[in-house]
């Protein structure tokens, strides 16, 4: 077993993790990033982004009041976010734009700050059009330059806390070689920046589990580790969807320059009837379920229609914007199959649920309810902003952790009780390769079916939620009794599966406890919306004895 000692361990080297490493390492802290792939191409920003949601005073006006109001009420913030935290990413966004520019990310490909896409008619545009295709290599280089150490191909599976309840380290596995090797980290502070939960519900092509709009490597490990360690989660009862090309799941709907229409080419929403490069079509943002809803209502199919898009805009979309956004597999696909978007529409679909921006409850300093434990990016449960939110809260977490580590001392974790428990789990999973064993995909298939049917967006009631919870517990017990791994890769996938099984618990429990219908949570036995729960978020956490506590807190 390898052992590392550091001041600040960052779990996940996506945009949030790298942004946290930069200020912390710059301050002199010993920072390690543990990334299960390679930070140059990992996470949902792996291949790029082309919209940075921000407030730039010289573009939007010196008074941020309008930006706060318009961004705060838009789909980018959304009802399940704390305005206090939304304000952090809005107010720090320009500083980050300048920082990214200084490290070689092209924030103004046209020479000026230029905003386009995801536009709501009547509002200012806040999505800075940038070229993020090199964002991950650039942020990686900057983190290294500031002195952070990056350990690629390390999977972290457990957070360690001490008797007082503060964070003291983490345990994981080095999966670089064919045989995994356990890795122990002793650290004063830990950041969870592991992204969303991409594979807990079935994909739009259930036989192909990795056909997901955002990176399928993001599997809720941060949320699961936080929950097991006793951190407070929030909004786990508010499922979230996404939309894009129907059987070719891909995010980046705002990069398309077209309009949403029926099969005859007729638009049906009030967000514009002509393709606009300036605003795009916000339909998929504000009503991502429209493709599913319309099919169900007998009104489908529904298309992204670029046939009226001017040729120069179409060329720009396919060969510049989609490259910047990192979704030019769409370009490649259409060219390989001779699909001419000036003549043909692409059917869009509503993708099944992904749990993004649902999870760890944080304050405005990115701190969780556990001392020394931070979270940033899509694994946070109470902030939106996607890329901009991840960058801002990564930065905030890195700054705060740099101060926090001065107030605590290192604690020896070499005899931590969790260490033996985790090593025993790894050993058990690996040793079963010598006998007939179950494969992680078998269990994930069942988990996805259970989440879809008993914990999905269709009408639920006390009985379906109760039964679904029971079945997941059965699946967990049987999985632990039967799963085996042939090599490092399978150990990584199996640990991801076990994390997703653990995350089913807070989803089912919170949904059972929410005795009303609201947003995506629809119950036949409580069909009304209870106004006493307006402006409140449901939280869930486990105490030291494993007893679960649920509560409602005010939106802050």
């Amino acid at each position: 077993m390898k052992t590392y000692t550091c001041d600040f361990l960052i779990v996940g080297g996506g945009v949030a993790g790298l942004m946290a490493a930069i200020p912390a390492a710059k301050s002199g802290a010993k920072v390690i990033i543990a990334e299960k792939a390679d930070t140059r191409r990992s996470g949902s920003g792996a291949n790029g982004n082309d919209h940075y949601h921000c407030y730039i005073p010289q573009c939007h006006g010196a008074d941020p009041a309008r930006a706060r109001r318009e961004i705060g009420s838009s789909f980018d913030a959304g009802p399940w976010t704390d305005p206090k935290l939304t304000d952090v990413w809005i107010m720090r966004s320009y500083e980050i734009v300048q920082m990214w520019e200084s490290i070689g990310i092209d924030m103004r490909p046209t020479g000026e700050y230029h905003f386009e896409g995801h536009g709501i008619p009547g509002c200012q545009l806040y999505n800075l059009k940038f070229d993020g295709k090199n964002q991950k290599p650039a942020l990686t280089a900057e983190a290294l330059k500031q002195g952070a150490q990056i350990l690629n191909h390390i999977v972290i599976s457990e957070i360690l806390t001490n008797e007082e309840g503060r964070v003291v380290g983490a345990i994981g596995a080095d999966v670089h070689a064919e045989e995994p090797e356990a890795v122990l980290f002793q650290s004063k502070a830990v950041l969870l920046a592991t992204g969303m939960v991409s594979r807990m519900y079935p994909s739009i092509t259930p036989a192909y589990m990795f056909n997901t709009p955002c990176c399928p490597a993001t599997t809720g490990s941060g949320q699961a580790m936080a929950y097991r360690a006793g951190a407070r989660l929030v909004n786990m009862d508010m499922l979230k969807g996404h939309a894009g090309p129907k059987y070719f799941a891909r995010g980046g709907k705002g990069t398309w320059i077209g309009i949403t229409t029926d099969i005859h080419g007729k638009p049906f929403t009030p967000y514009g009837d002509k393709p606009s490069r300036a605003t795009g079509d916000v339909t998929a943002d504000v009503w991502p379920s429209c493709y599913y809803d319309r099919m169900k209502a007998g009104q489908g199919p529904t298309y992204m229609n670029c046939t009226e898009t001017p040729p120069e805009d179409l060329d720009y979309m396919l060969h510049e914007a989609m490259v910047s956004e990192g979704i030019d597999s769409i370009t490649d696909y259409t060219e390989q199959r001779n699909i001419d978007l000036s003549k043909e529409m692409i059917e869009f679909g509503t993708y099944p649920i992904m749990m993004s921006q649902r999870g760890i409850d944080c304050d405005e300093h990115s701190h969780t309810s556990i001392p020394g434990l931070y979270a940033a990016g899509n694994c946070m449960g109470n902030v939106g902003g996607s890329l901009a939110g991840a960058a801002a809260f990564g930065l905030v977490a890195g700054e705060d952790a740099a101060e926090y580590i001065k107030t605590v001392s290192q604690e020896d974790v070499s005899n931590h009780p969790k260490l033996k428990e985790t090593l025993d789990l790894y050993q058990m999973l690996m040793e079963r390769r010598n006998q007939p064993h179950a494969h992680w995909k078998e269990a994930l298939s069942t988990l996805q079916n259970l989440m879809n049917e008993y914990g999905g967006v269709e009408l639920q009631n006390e009985d379906t939620l109760k039964a679904g919870y029971t079945y997941v517990q059965q699946l967990k017990a049987d999985s632990l009794n039967a799963l085996g791994c042939e090599n490092s890769h399978e150990l990584m996938r199996t640990l991801e599966l076990l994390d997703m099984i653990d995350l089913a618990e807070p989803i089912f429990l919170c949904r059972r406890n929410r005795k009303e219908s609201r947003g995506p949570h629809i119950r036949s036995d409580y069909s009304f919306t209870n106004i006493l729960l307006n402006n409140k978020f449901q939280t869930i956490e486990k105490d030291k004895d494993g007893t679960v506590h649920m509560d409602y807190r005010l939106r802050q």
Binding site: R40, N211, A217, Y247, T261, I263, T307, D332, I339
Partner: protein
């Protein structure tokens, strides 16, 4: 198998295997014939990171029939054909 490795161009440097976000590609270092293989094809996200970062231009992407983009020509001004 989604990424296609063009053997005649591949120098077996292993960079694609190192950076693949889904750990799909593997460099089998076995001497004297090291080989790059697509070990977990159904875990490919088709993100093209391997294709873009390959210093030799030795990788192209094949999109499987399971990942099918549905396309349709609208009839202007009314009924579709």
């Amino acid at each position: 198998m989604p990424p296609i490795i063009h053997e005649e161009k591949c120098v077996k440097c292993g960079y694609c295997a190192q950076i693949c976000p889904l750990d799909v590609l593997y460099l089998d270092k076995q001497e004297p014939n090291p080989r790059l293989r697509v070990r977990y094809p159904d875990e490919c996200w088709h993100c093209r990171a391997c294709e873009k970062d390959c210093p030799q231009g030795a990788i192209t992407m094949r999109y499987p029939l399971s990942h099918f983009m549905l396309h349709y020509t609208p009839e202007k001004g009314g009924e579709n054909q």
